[in-house]
Symmetry: C2
Subunit: 180 residues, 2 copies
DNA sequence: TATTGTTATACTCTATAACTATA
DNA sequence: TATAGTTATAGAGTATAACAATA
């Protein structure tokens, strides 16, 4: 990587090969650290046979047992058919149970099984260890400070508590250029 | 959502339907805000016809012009064939140029075109607006504080400056419980 | 024979839409 | 006819591996 290029390569293009290219802002760091955190968390819950989406589902069902798949899909911002797949998997693992609603037999009321609750407990321990590792660089005061700042940002950005955008399909750049 | 369920549905499962389900930690917020930030950034650069991965490539090429695709793949943690696709797209848009290396003609040296540099300038403006929106809840002092905390975390976690984990495939949980 | 880049193939994931059963 | 859930199909994205050119 030196500069001994023969006359076949015109000196043409490169003007300022250094700065301006490495993003240094907090927004980039948030995205970078966020993706890193999500990946590490995925590894950890992977040990339990779960994906992060599974965990999200378990938490939502635990928080409001008996809700329907449709309601769940709405809250998560995903399409109902995806909930079918996710619940299939959780039911197959014996963590979630579908119960036909007696009021409206089209509905499935979702509940955790006993093992589902145990698993959710294990997830909580994984999450605690994860947080501790992720923030190893910060002392308790700094962690509190970070939490405070992040909560301000999340609130102002109107992020739904407990709902991870990763559950729904990333909005790919809507398509290059034209308006809808 | 009332509690008039007939005897067909045993009161069985749900014990503590409330807390324990909504994650409140900084790690979750980092992942949530990070995904949100990435999504919003994707929208913005989508206006320029670019994906976030495109932007990352442009930045790396700008930072070190002339590098080979293989080196790029290594630094990004992606497979070389993916770099082919990405560069194809950028070259098709006239932003990047492949030049046969005179030293080793197997190599392609990558360079930005003049338009590529202009586009990167536009990206920087998008990024600045993005950051400003994302951190609208914080005053300048708080933003500096956040940046400081995030940098500590990124350093301790050994995150490569400028390299977004989203460029490479998320490590799916290596196995989902049972060996298939 | 080893290495750079490319192409071809297969796999995974997810949304769309058709379908069923209840209402 | 409308709605909850399911199933079937198709599309996007990406890794794996075979391949061509150069060393």
């Amino acid at each position: 990587m030196s500069d001994r290029q023969p006359d076949t390569t015109p000196p043409a293009s490169d003007p300022a090969p250094g700065p301006a290219s490495a993003p240094r802002g907090a927004a980039f760091l948030l995205a970078q650290i966020g993706a890193h955190a999500a990946g590490r968390f995925a590894e950890r819950v992977g040990d339990l046979g779960l994906t992060p989406a599974d965990v999200g589902l378990l938490r939502m069902i635990a928080g409001r047992p008996g809700r329907s798949q449709r309601a769940l899909a709405e809250d998560l911002g995903v399409v109902p058919s995806r909930v079918v797949t996710l619940i299939d998997s959780l039911e197959g693992k014996g963590l979630v149970e579908r119960r036909r609603s007696a009021e409206d037999r089209r509905n499935h009321e979702l509940h955790l099984t006993a093992e589902g609750r145990r698993t959710l407990g294990a997830v909580s321990r994984k999450a605690a260890a994860h947080e501790d590792d992720l923030l190893a660089a910060l002392d308790p005061a700094q962690r509190a400070q970070l939490l405070d700042l992040l909560e301000r940002v999340a609130t102002q950005q109107e992020l739904t508590p407990g709902v991870h955008p990763g559950y729904r399909t990333l909005q790919k750049s809507p398509r290059s250029g034209r308006p809808e």
